[in-house]
């Protein structure tokens, strides 16, 4: 039985770790140089945020595990990231749509965490928020530009939205860990963020001339670790192979 605070910190750190790694997969193969640099920088920010979250998680757990230990030596079922973030990159449109859907949520939760009763969390949130804010600026502009672009870019962005929309709901599903965080004024109930998220995302999608899919089916099981998709294991195999094969490797 782990503490709810430890679980909560893993969720924050695993979100930024998994998305950060996914985004880093574009390094060197992006459509244009500027986007390559932008994606690599975004990934770097998120890996940096991961070090803060998982570093604190390791301290809270109290078993001497470092951020690196938590990132590289856990199995897929121990990860607590949202299913949305472990989705493969597919094309650039899917990558940017995934980023936009998460960035809007990320900015909102970090804003709320700035006033967390846990000082360390408030500090990490304040630091991360500066970065998440310009991530959102870029992903929002890119989604609008491509959605309201050519017939081909519009079709690709609509396909991306249709593919990812069923993963949106998990961001706002509250569970026992969230309830424990709310009780101690550490973090907000994620379901309370939906309205503000809609206010950011829906007008932007409309500006992008994209249609929000009907239905509210939600894939779940990432943030509580019960049902990760098959994609996470493949991603971790690549991400973790070096420290697992060469346990004491260092730069």
């Amino acid at each position: 039985m782990t503490s709810p605070l430890f679980d909560f910190l893993l969720r924050q750190g695993d979100n930024t770790l998994v998305l950060g790694h996914r985004v880093s997969e574009w390094c060197g193969v992006s459509p244009v140089l500027e986007e390559d640099i932008a994606l690599a920088n975004t990934a770097l920010d998120m890996i940096g945020q991961t070090q803060m979250w998982l570093g604190y998680a390791g301290e809270v757990e109290g078993k001497g595990r470092t951020a690196d230990n938590l990132a590289y030596l856990r199995e897929a079922w121990d990860f607590r990231n949202l299913l949305l973030l472990e989705r493969p990159n597919d094309d650039f449109g899917v990558t940017m749509m995934r980023q936009f859907l998460f960035d809007a949520f990320h900015v909102l939760i970090l804003k709320a965490l700035e006033s967390s009763s846990d000082t360390r969390i408030a500090e990490i949130a304040a630091k991360s928020l500066k970065e998440a804010t310009y991530h959102l600026e870029r992903s929002r502009e890119t989604v609008i530009g491509l959605g309201d672009g050519t017939a081909e870019s519009n079709a690709k962005m609509q396909a991306a939205l249709d593919l990812l929309w069923p993963y949106v709901g998990e961001m706002f599903v509250a569970d026992d860990v969230d309830a424990a965080m709310v009780k101690e004024a550490i973090a907000p109930d994620p379901s309370t963020l939906r309205e503000a998220w809609d206010a950011i995302v829906l007008p932007s999608l409309s500006e992008a001339t994209l249609t929000v899919p009907e239905g509210d089916f939600t894939h779940k099981g990432g943030k509580n670790g019960t049902r990760h998709s098959e994609h996470l294991g493949h991603m971790l195999a690549q991400m973790q192979i070096l420290p697992r094969s060469y346990p004491d490797a260092s730069w």
Partner: protein, 153 residues
């Protein structure tokens, strides 16, 4: 050895260049948050510019090395993330050096005042991200040169 004053230490640190933008010092960059003696140990608090900036560990190493070269032995470098770094902490001297080097200084308005080369105000953003996490890519529409802009955060 006589214990150097913290003013002296700040002066030494002002000679440690930023590894990515060597024309400015780590003091100009505003990342040295505190220098204090704790008995015989010198504690230096450093704040990262961006949380994932790979230069952070190099900076700590460079600071440690510079202070050792001045004869200090017991040095502790602390990472301090709060309050979060802001470009408001760039020194005036640092801002001027950035411009001379061809990097437009950050402005609250969100973009450069002018092209650092020809001073034209007719400039446009190419990308919000540049060669390091702290910079964006802009272009001058008069002299047509691309240039770095130090992002305002």
């Amino acid at each position: 050895m006589q214990r150097p004053t913290t003013d002296q230490i700040w002066e030494w640190l002002d000679a440690v260049p930023d590894p990515e933008i060597p024309v400015i010092s780590v003091v100009d960059l505003g990342i040295i948050r505190d220098v204090r003696w704790e008995n015989d140990t010198l504690a230096v608090a450093v704040t990262p510019t961006y949380s994932g900036c790979p230069a952070t560990s190099v900076i700590s190493f460079d600071i440690d090395k510079a202070l050792r070269e001045h004869g200090l032995k017991n040095i502790r470098i602390e990472t301090q993330i709060s309050p979060a770094w802001t470009t408001d902490w760039l020194s005036k001297k640092g801002r001027a050096k950035l411009e001379d080097y061809g990097i437009a200084a950050p402005r609250a308005a969100g973009g450069p005042e002018h092209c650092p080369r020809c001073k034209s105000t007719d400039v446009e953003k190419i990308s919000q991200f540049g060669s390091t996490p702290c910079k964006a890519q802009w272009r001058c529409c008069s002299c047509l040169e691309p240039f770095d802009y130090f992002k305002c955060i």
